[in-house]
């Protein structure tokens, strides 16, 4: 598939927004869905619907097979060693909460430290804060450098004998910095520290290879990856899933239930209590197929060209200030305009059909560090083009005009 044809796969782009073509630059928030994913949900509910894993009738068997098919596709896509290392969750947020809750319960004691970074999304901070409150653990923050990056050195500086787990983003949703997660994992493992990678932004834009990164946990948000909402993936090394206690209790996760004792199911059922987001899981298989059809290498090349082009035109636009200047940047361009608040920028751009996000993007720690209360963010998806970025720049100029800049 040629990159110029990709927009045609996404029906939303045939709509007009305020009489303009849609320029969607909010994929870091959530991505649009290709027709094949939308159709798959409809098809499942129309012709194939049943709950999975319980009944023995024809529809139940079909649904279960389809559900498990996606697990295999995910395993292959992220190069996990074992199919049972893939756990479906309601989102990346739940995936991180699952680890914080179970790892915290079993392995953390008062005074132990979790090392995160100043780049983290609230969903990779608040779950650890719960443990700070309930167990008296400490949270350390690796500091960003002047370019909005987290280096191996900034991580190393904060590691000590109390550090039990390092939880880091793969790709910052504000500065666009790609973190050296493989090197950080290697360093952490040499000191006996586990690593969780928040892959919300990394998974849709980078090549994923769990065995190469070697991290212990990796959280994925499916709706940012051209898939349905209400679905996430937790990748976890098998040894952890075997050792950690279950997260939620309910149907489907048990082995044997008696009045005085309960044993839990095998992997991955142990972590999938209750009826799961069946239709979403089944449709997510189409998201992976779509990405594979485009080709990961082509996608990375296309998005890299776009990010370089975007940086170039925004750097040339005086009064626009880009946030961060990472050497290895992907998919995200956050900026401010001197004299115009980000919310005003977003409202004015929207009038031209340009969808961006304004605010702190769930990264208040980072914005405090940068000394700003909010920023505007244009984030890329596979469907974006250079024309989209030109329109962004034109609309920014229009915004400056309205504000007499």
């Amino acid at each position: 598939m040629s990159m110029s044809d990709i927009k045609k796969e996404f029906p939303i782009f045939s709509n007009k927004i305020h009489n303009n073509d849609l320029v969607y630059l909010d994929s870091a928030n959530s991505s649009q869905k290709p027709q094949s994913v939308i159709d798959r949900i409809n098809e499942f509910y129309t012709n194939e619907f049943s709950n999975t894993g319980r009944s023995v009738h024809y529809l139940a068997v079909t649904a279960t097979n389809l559900y498990e098919n996606t697990r295999s596709s995910v395993q292959k896509y992220i190069n996990a060693k074992d199919k049972n290392e893939i756990v479906f969750t309601k989102g990346a947020t739940e995936a991180i909460n699952l680890v914080a809750n179970t790892f915290g319960q079993k392995y953390l004691e008062q005074g132990d430290e979790i090392l995160i970074t100043e780049l983290e999304h609230h969903s990779n901070y608040v779950p650890w804060h719960f443990l700070r409150q309930s167990k008296g653990i400490k949270i350390e923050f690796a500091e960003i450098n002047h370019d909005g990056e987290i280096t191996l050195e900034s991580i190393e500086k904060k590691i000590n004998s109390k550090t039990k787990l390092i939880a880091i983003t793969h790709l910052s949703n504000v500065t666009g910095a790609v973190l050296p997660v493989k090197e950080i994992t290697e360093l952490a493992h040499s000191k006996g520290i586990a690593v969780l990678v928040d892959g919300c932004q990394g998974a849709p834009h980078l090549k994923l290879d769990m065995q190469d990164i070697d991290c212990d946990f990796y959280a994925i948000s499916c709706h940012k990856m051209y898939g349905p909402t209400g679905l996430g993936v937790l990748y976890a090394k098998k040894k952890w899933l075997e050792q950690l206690p279950p997260y939620q209790g309910g149907g489907g996760m048990i082995n044997d239930v008696k009045k005085d004792s309960i044993t839990y199911g095998d992997l991955p059922n142990k972590y999938e209590a209750g009826t799961m987001a069946t239709a979403q899981v089944i449709a997510f298989d189409q998201s992976i197929k779509f990405l594979e059809k485009v080709g990961i290498e082509s996608m990375i090349k296309h998005e890299q060209e776009l990010i370089e082009y975007g940086q170039e035109i925004l750097k040339r636009n005086n009064s626009v200030k880009l946030i961060g200047n990472p050497k290895n940047r992907a998919a995200v361009l956050s900026f401010t305009i001197e004299g115009v608040h980000p919310h005003d920028i977003a409202t004015i751009l929207d009038e031209d059909g340009v969808a961006i996000r304004a605010g702190h993007h769930c990264c208040q720690i980072l914005h405090d560090k940068l000394g700003i209360s909010a920023s505007a963010r244009a984030s890329l998806g596979i469907y974006n083009t250079k024309e989209d970025l030109d329109q962004l720049n034109n609309s920014i100029n229009n915004c400056k005009k309205i504000f007499n800049l």
Binding site: V340, H341, P342, H343, D344, I348, A358, H367, F403, N404
Partner: protein, 155 residues
């Protein structure tokens, strides 16, 4: 509706040079409001005299042009008004932003109404209504002192 109707000159001017962006000396009432979704925040300071008349009202905070202009215009207009009048005007303003086509308050002069109606453009932008109303809700909190933080409901 054209975006220029939202960003009228008077809004841009007040947004850029907000009046009463300071802290009232010897204030006797105050309240903080913030909008967790946007990160906008405002701190209102109020000085009422013995007759419960507004001797001075001011604010500190940061936010978008709409929220700064709204706080600026509001604080300008409330000086010299009695507490009961202030409450009535706030109610009228919030009603106008929400649904009423115009302002009805007898406590407002015609030129004051004209100025406030410049903010009516936000009606067309539901996500921005809270920007225009944050300082008004916070002013009421300051008078009533019912709560320390007047967080806007985001969902």
């Amino acid at each position: 509706m054209n975006i220029k109707e939202l960003y009228q000159e008077i809004i841009l001017e007040h947004g850029k040079n907000p009046r009463n962006l300071r802290k009232t000396e010897n204030f006797n009432k105050d309240a903080k409001g913030n909008n967790p979704l946007c990160g906008d925040n405002v701190h209102i300071f109020l000085k009422l005299d013995e007759d419960k008349k507004v001797q001075d009202v001011s604010f500190e905070g940061s936010g978008c042009a709409i929220s700064m202009a709204s706080a600026s215009i509001m604080t300008d207009l409330m000086k010299g008004k009695e507490e009961a009048q202030v409450k009535e005007i706030v109610k009228d303003f919030l009603g106008m932003i929400k649904e009423n086509p115009e302002l009805k308050s007898k406590n407002l002069q015609e030129d004051e109404k004209t100025k406030l109606m410049c903010l009516s453009g936000v009606k067309q932008y539901p996500m921005r209504v809270k920007c225009a109303t944050l300082s008004w809700h916070t002013l009421i909190s300051a008078i009533d002192k019912t709560q320390e933080e007047n967080n806007t409901k985001t969902r």
